[in-house]
């Protein structure tokens, strides 16, 4: 290729190209001028005729049933006031008008804020569930306010109010933060989503597909023609494993005391009961906004929004002794028949540790120690095991790790270890600390569901795959909760577990601390606990009134029957003072209700036709939910 080329011709021609570009662009500019300036009024007029109002038709969320097919969460029609932003001339005037509604100034301001940030072609729900007065107020002024329309939309109804509120959860308008999460992909501003509990875990299943109506409207907003109508399709229904009867008993028995109850099938993992007190009413959240209620609930010092069953961490107290027993037998440190002598206390590492019984328990073996909850036995066992073994077996029983139940926000709990202490305090582990941990005090912390799951493993020898949702309906299994130390069940020797179960049976049936949980014919096994919330030394410094705030927590955790267990129940009553006195009877009522539901007490025999009806009634809900994999609305 020549280095010097005579390009002059080409260069002159390409200059011509530039002239051509400019000339043709002038034509484009000319036409743009014509359309956007000279004929702007004409086109603006045409644009006004293109008035379309898109009215979303909210898809009802799927219904939620209990395990017997009883509706827990339902939908009802509600009249909502919707503001169409494109029609609003002056937002301030609109909001002046809206002051006529029964709506707090604060809520109004919040809605106004939303209205100001939305795109012009979105609609804002101003108020849900209008009263008759409010509806007539709006309708009477409709002519002056074409931007407001009353739209019928489905609204969530939690039929039993506070019952199982934490498990069911609540819904609400999607937040800006949530909009950015992949969990809520496909949602847009103003959408209602599940924010808590099952409503959140199964949001995708429950969410339907919204429909819409495209209406041609005139300049005052009156519909001229329906251009398009897309029906909404409701979300899928869910059947939970919760048992409404048992749940009701648990919540009634907890009463006004803060605490939690969990019950589940230790083999299948079906959660029958999940109660947490104090609770909140999810119906208050079912309307889009109610700031006052929200503020009241979220700032409540009792923290009603916390699901204590899975989020609150407590010292397990004496219930931890069953974990110690498993560790002792599995490591071979003790034998089922080894005995110790309890004189009412023991001096270890230069410190005197009390048994709860002043006179002492005398000579006790493992099962007797569990039955009488003898501290001295477990102090000595703890000394023999050492913190490393305690840590290892606690973790193998799932403590210190989420249980994997299908709800968000579970707490991990805490199993203290040398490593942990080094990390947190920088100090080394003292052997004396092991002694407190051995009776479930010290740094050891568990959530009720973790403790129940550990006892479930002792009961069945298997890891319960905990879930709130019946299989086959969007069921997504459960996360394996236990850390990598355990792989497959059974991980413990059956004879060791049997010895621990034997001790737990004695707790309930041989005048042990848990006799309040006894159910005739149902072989209930369990363990009580009365866990301190603050140290003895601290308690002495407090006034009587102050001290009552830190009253001991009452625990009961157990299962039934002894062989082939069907149900695990864990109860904690905060400040309940006595595990045997306060928690065990609650568990007993749940065991009894479960047992009687399965084996109805023999009353006077029903006449034959009625018997037929009765058996049909109990059978029908089952197949509907189990085989169809979801009842469509």
């Amino acid at each position: 290729m020549p280095i010097f080329q005579d390009n002059r011709r080409l260069v002159s021609r390409i200059r011509g190209l530039r002239t051509a570009f400019v000339l043709i662009f002038l034509v484009l500019f000319g036409k743009l001028w014509y359309v956007a300036v000279l004929r702007a009024d004409y086109y603006r007029e045409l644009a006004k005729q293109n008035q379309v109002r898109i009215i979303p038709m909210l898809a009802p969320r799927g219904l939620i049933f209990d395990r017997d097919g009883r509706i827990l969460v339902d939908n009802v029609q509600s009249s909502n006031l919707v503001l169409f932003l494109d029609k609003a001339q002056d937002l301030n005037k609109v909001f002046d008008f809206l002051r006529g509604l029964n709506l707090s100034e604060e809520a109004l301001k919040e809605r106004m804020q939303v209205a100001r940030t939305c795109s012009k072609y979105q609609n804002v729900v101003i108020k849900e569930n209008l009263s008759l007065e409010e509806m007539s107020y709006v309708l009477a002024h409709q002519n002056g306010h074409p931007e407001l329309t009353i739209v019928e939309e489905p609204r969530r109804l939690y039929r039993y109010g506070l019952l199982a509120a934490h498990a069911l959860g609540y819904i609400g308008e999607i937040s800006d933060k949530q909009l950015k999460r992949t969990e809520f992909t496909g949602h847009r501003q103003g959408d209602i989503i599940g924010k808590y509990g099952v409503e959140r875990s199964y949001n995708q299943t429950l969410t339907g597909i919204d429909g819409k109506r495209r209406l041609l409207v005139n300049s005052i907003g009156r519909t001229i023609e329906e251009l398009q109508s897309v029906e909404s399709s409701p979300g899928n229904n869910l059947t939970l494993t919760l048992d409404l009867d048992l749940q009701m008993i648990a919540e009634t028995e907890l009463g006004n005391d803060p605490g939690a109850v969990v019950a589940f099938d230790p083999v299948r993992g079906d959660v029958f009961v999940m109660a947490s007190h104090p609770a909140f009413d999810p119906n208050l959240f079912a309307t889009r906004i109610n700031r006052a209620d929200w503020a009241r609930i979220s700032s409540d010092t009792e923290n009603p929004l916390q699901n204590r069953a899975i989020q609150a961490e407590f010292s397990p107290g004496s219930t931890f002794k069953v974990v110690m027993a498993v560790a002792g037998l599995e490591t071979g440190v003790v034998n089922e028949n080894d005995t110790i002598f309890c004189p009412g206390g023991v001096t270890l590492y230069g410190h005197y540790f009390h048994c709860w019984k002043k006179g002492g328990h005398g000579t006790v073996n493992l099962t007797q120690a569990i039955r009488q909850s003898c501290n001295v036995y477990f102090y000595l066992l703890g000394q023999k095991l050492g913190i490393d073994n305690i840590e290892q077996y606690s973790k193998r029983l799932g403590l210190g790790h989420i249980s994997g139940v299908d709800l968000a926000g579970e707490a991990d709990g805490l199993v203290p270890s040398q490593e942990w202490k080094k990390k947190v305090t920088g100090d080394k582990w003292y052997a004396g600390e092991t002694i407190s941990v051995a009776i479930g005090q010290g740094a050891m912390n568990v959530t009720p569901i973790q403790l129940a799951r550990a006892v479930g493993m002792i009961a069945s020898g298997e890891e319960p795959p905990l879930h709130l949702i019946k299989e086959g309906e969007g069921y997504r299994g459960s996360v394996t909760a236990v850390g990598s130390t355990s792989t497959a069940a059974p991980f413990f020797k059956e004879e060791n577990l049997r010895a621990v179960r034997d001790g737990m049976w004695r707790v309930v049936n041989e005048f042990g601390t848990g006799r309040g949980a006894m159910v005739e014919g149902f072989e209930v096994c369990g363990k009580t606990g009365t866990a301190q919330t603050i140290g003895n030394a601290t308690k002495k410094t407090l006034s009587a009134e102050e001290a009552s705030k830190y009253a001991d927590n009452a625990w009961f955790v157990g299962f039934a029957p002894r062989d082939n267990p069907e149900i695990v129940v864990c109860v904690i009553v905060q400040g309940g003072k006595s595990g045997g006195g306060r928690a065990a009877p609650i568990a007993g009522k749940i065991f009894r209700a479960y047992f009687e539901k399965k084996h109805p007490p023999q009353g006077p025999p029903l006449p034959a036709p009625l018997q037929q009806v009765a058996s049909n009634a109990t059978e029908t809900p089952q197949p509907a939910s189990a085989t169809n994999g979801g009842i469509r609305q």
């Binding site: 290729m1 280095i3 080329q5 390009n7 011709r9 080409l10 260069v11 021609r13 390409i14 200059r15 190209l17 530039r18 570009f21 400019v22 043709i24 662009f25 034509v27 484009l28 500019f29 036409k31 743009l32 359309v35 956007a36 300036v37 004929r39 702007a40 004409y42 086109y43 603006r44 045409l46 644009a47 293109n50 379309v52 898109i54 494109d86 795109s119 012009k120 072609y121 496909g186 949602h187 847009r188």
Partner: protein
């Protein structure tokens, strides 16, 4: 090449102009997907832009003389690709011109345009004649017609038509005698009735309606009319992004691809629309300037092809939105949503920057 030299020889003005347009395009695509929360157009457009820029710098970094040396190889590969797609390609909206790579649909016929530019450059730069001889004329036409026929067979007439401005522009610069220009015009006049036989009904309708939009205000003329309403009702400053009635409520069809100019005109007003046109004019005149300063014929010819390609896309697309040209689905370079168009435009941009960079002999 040292960094300093790259920086000093890099045409910041051209690149800056193009990037401003790309930014406006991303803004437009964002606005167009506001009403459809499931739309992934916005994030995809960002990805395409990123990929396009990478490709642009790859093309930029290879001396264009090497590219021209391998032009015929690339050309043969392209033809094979087009034939392959004709057989194995994917059909979308009646055009079997799509290739699916990693779940993304892609139209190679867009990028082949750039290869044709290189092939024509290769042939033209080898000629010694001042004015094109008849033989050269036919060879150049042949080089262009082969991919055009394949693209027509794929059922994508709009894309096929955009090969001709490249050929026309490059032949004019390469030295086309007036005789030939006249002959082509006569041929076109003669061919027009024949092409009427080849065109599909909807294509004929489009042409008729462009000539007279009132023929069918609710049907074919609808798109153009709604687009004109959008442009006409935007006012001086527009309605603001996301607030255009015409654009947001689905009156203007294909708003994020073919009619993105209408969206920008409605939502950013006359000022925005003028800005877009001025930016294009700036980019094009920058390219002409690069052509003037180019080191050799190859550089000038490449610039001619690239500028013609962009110029005609802009004129046809904006003309369509304004109701001057028929509504053929041609994307607006750098603005419209779409991967194939974006990639071919960035490759073309890379070529122009390349010619500028190598404008000195040493």
């Amino acid at each position: 090449m040292s960094i300093q030299r790259v920086v000093s020889r890099f045409d910041v003005l051209l690149f800056g102009g193009a990037m401003t347009l790309a930014f406006l395009g991303i803004l437009g695509v964002y606005s167009a997907s506001l009403q459809n929360p499931a739309s992934t157009a916005f994030s995809r457009q960002l990805v395409w832009t990123g990929l396009g820029l990478i490709l642009c710098f790859v093309v930029f970094s290879i001396d264009y003389h090497h590219l021209v040396d391998y032009a015929f190889h690339l050309y043969v590969l392209s033809i094979l690709l087009l034939v392959g797609i004709l057989i194995f390609g994917r059909e979308i909206n009646g055009s079997k011109s799509w290739l699916t790579i990693a779940g993304q649909n892609f139209q190679p016929s867009e990028v082949v345009k750039v290869v044709v530019i290189l092939a024509l450059t290769r042939y033209l730069s080898g000629l010694t004649e001042d004015y094109l001889k008849r033989q050269s004329f036919f060879v150049l036409t042949g080089i262009t017609m082969l991919p055009v026929c394949l693209v027509v067979l794929q059922g994508d007439l709009g894309t096929a038509l955009m090969y001709f401005p490249i050929l026309g522009g490059m032949m004019l610069i390469g030295g086309l005698k007036f005789r030939f220009v006249a002959a082509v015009m006569v041929l076109a006049l003669l061919l027009a009735p024949t092409s009427w036989l080849v065109l599909k009904d909807y294509q004929k309708q489009r042409i008729m309606v462009t000539l007279d939009p009132s023929l069918d205000p609710k049907g074919i003329g609808y798109q153009t009319r709604q687009s004109q309403i959008a442009i006409g009702s935007g006012g001086l400053l527009g309605t603001g992004i996301g607030n255009g009635l015409q654009s947001q409520l689905g009156f203007v069809p294909e708003i994020h691809t073919d009619f993105i100019f209408a969206l920008l005109a409605e939502e950013t007003g006359l000022l925005g629309a003028c800005l877009v046109l001025l930016l294009y004019l700036f980019v094009l005149s920058r390219m002409v300037r690069i052509g003037e300063q180019a080191r050799d014929r190859q550089g000038i010819l490449i610039i001619t092809g690239v500028a013609s390609l962009i110029f005609f896309h802009v004129v046809i697309n904006v003309g369509m939105a304004l109701g001057i040209t028929p509504a053929i689905g041609i994307p607006l370079p750098l603005l419209s949503y779409g991967g194939s168009s974006a990639l071919s435009t960035y490759v073309a941009l890379g070529l122009a920057l390349n010619v500028h960079y190598h404008r000195f002999v040493y």
